[in-house]
Subunit: 342 residues, 2 copies
DNA sequence: AACACCCCCGAAAAGGTTTTAGGATGTGCT
DNA sequence: AGCACATCCTAAAACCTTTTCGGGGGTGTT
């Protein structure tokens, strides 16, 4: 009871162990392992063999303490479901390339206190930079306090235009959707979307309206049907649209979930998709869009690419560059719900 | 060009800075801040004020280098969509309590090479422990190499029974589902589920069969309908079931996605849910289950709780305890698809 | 044989924190 | 006055790696 559990406590091998085994000094061992400095090739292999034998892995803490660089970046998300964060995380990791850099994800759960705490935790562990992922596209307040490392905001831009933000071009996305429907031969198009309080909903609607105007057309009902992002709203709104405007021949939905609801109601009404009416969604959420009946055409926001770019910009900023914000277009992922009429 | 960019390079304040400002030695400053050792109260407040003023945050690298503890655990996931990992991450974070410990997530994408790389990266950063999350419940090979820190496997158990694994009781989950349907007054129950290659599918089917046998009943068709985890299979299998066994009055689905497909086919056949037939899913995936028509009763695996327990077990192991594996039951989340007949 | 020179290696310092052991100061008692 | 002792603080070592600088030894040249 008086002393500790007395576990043998396997101690990870240190550079000193390697050097001792190889019969050289720690300085030489370090140089041999990192390929720096002048060291005879025979010595180098001797050190490398010793390191291999002990399965030595350098202590990143000591290294970071000395160099000021830890080769670590934090990815801070507020996206509960991880639907946006995971692809962005993957992209950021890919951008880190050969693997000198590790990306660690923390979930702030949309809670400012928790976010502050995670930022502190990451900074005290001396991350080289931060990626902040929002759960919606509305501008978000920049991280509080003066952050001593570069920060890149993804998906949700920072409210401070001086910050680096990598975002989706939702206006362009709305335009893409409409242009696709037009290319399929549709002319009488309605737009059912989520809450008007979301920038994403307003932007997509704006792009849709612009594309229609450019073709000399108007939206069915003259304005978007704002509601919520879920299936029930899709069902309810589709009901209204079909009853009030039976001539409608395409519906652009602000989310794939809305589109699922729309599909269901159209089926109830006996409106065949895509023969009689086309439907296009937004997000390209595989679990929702890829296995509906018919399978759903959707706008993909290329989140993984967004993450890649965010990673690249962050690494550039860490290396002293001053990158700027950027906005990326989505792309149409075509499935059966918008087969061209013909 | 000859020298570095010459940035002022905001240097984070060190303990030395604080000590200097407070007019004490670093040792005293350390003790004052950590509340350790004998230090006069007037001195303590002087130090704390100085720390506050400089917004000093201790360098976790230096601290970890010395103590051998970093207050960091790595959560390694193979779950592409993050559908399982995020709740588990949240649970593990909650288990870490006051916030001395941070949990960092890495995504191995089900790739052994990438997994190895991430383990190396985490270990070189001297995490105190690892949580490994699998994407399916089949036992997985334990982490390769001798890991010098405790490891807890969640969702997917380690193939080595000596390891600590925290898993879902899928047999019990299957039993729960059937018992719920029986309690709703159903007697003629079919089971449509995913690939027989998945332990989860086999376990749930086993539990279902056992619960039916205990009630003196048999499964419709005498065996589960194994197929795939998606909606199309749900539609196809429901078609078969309803045609071959029109007397069926309940369907237990191995996933919520399958259940969605089943619901759709039942609607095509004019079988009213839940009046004429009940449907129960598995996973309680909100996006799928919470907004279908009717809304879907489902088995929830309590993943967040799983993460909490995993965190607790890991922290216990880090503190020298020798915790054991554990299996947790799910729970029925009731919605409209299984309203009792009456 | 003496010298210049190159190649390789080792000693030491630095980075920020915690802990241990000991030193300085002041108080109470004989 | 001298001593024991409690209280508060400091100096220094330790953690592990990287880098700089200098030294030792060998080789080629005159």
């Amino acid at each position: 009871m008086t002393t500790e559990p007395e576990v043998p406590a396997y101690r990870p091998p240190t550079l000193t162990d390697v050097a001792k085994l190889a019969g050289v000094s720690v300085a030489t061992a370090s140089k041999a392992i990192n390929g720096r400095g002048e060291v005879r090739s025979t010595t180098r292999v001797r050190v490398l063999e010793a390191a291999e034998l002990l399965s030595f892995a350098p202590n990143a803490l000591a290294r970071g303490l000395l160099s000021g660089r830890t080769g670590t970046v934090g990815l801070l998300t507020s996206d509960l479901e991880g639907r946006f964060s995971i692809p962005i995380l993957m992209g950021a990791e890919d951008a880190s390339g050969a693997g000198q850099v590790s990306v660690f994800l923390c979930d702030a759960r949309g809670d400012a206190i928790r976010e502050k705490h995670h930022v502190q935790a990451l900074l005290s562990r001396r991350v080289d930079g931060l990626i902040v992922v929002g759960s919606r596209t509305d501008p978000r307040p920049p991280l509080a306090g003066n952050i001593p490392v570069p920060v890149v905001y993804v998906y949700a831009p920072s409210a401070d235009p001086a910050d680096i933000s990598i975002t989706v071009d939702n206006v362009g996305g709305g335009r893409l959707a409409i242009e696709h429907l037009l290319a399929c031969g549709r002319r009488t198009i309605a737009h059912i979307t989520g809450e008007a309080g979301f920038q994403a909903a307003r932007d997509r609607a704006e792009g849709a309206a612009a594309a229609l105007a450019a073709a000399g057309l108007r939206m069915v009902g003259d304005r978007p049907y704002f509601g919520s992002w879920d299936e029930s709203w899709g069902r309810a709104a589709a009901h209204m649209v079909v009853e009030q405007h039976p001539e409608v021949d395409a519906i652009f939905c602000g989310s794939d979930q809305i589109a699922r609801g729309v599909l269901e109601t159209l089926r109830d009404f006996g409106r065949e998709v895509p023969r009689s009416i086309s439907v296009i969604g937004f997000d390209n959420w595989e679990a929702i869009a890829a296995d509906s009946r018919p399978r759903l055409t959707s706008i993909d926001m290329n989140l993984k690419h967004l993450g890649e770019v965010a990673g690249q910009r962050l690494f550039a900023a860490i290396d002293g560059a001053a990158p700027s914000s950027e906005e990326f277009p989505g792309r149409v992922v075509m499935r059966e719900s918008t087969l061209p009429v013909g």
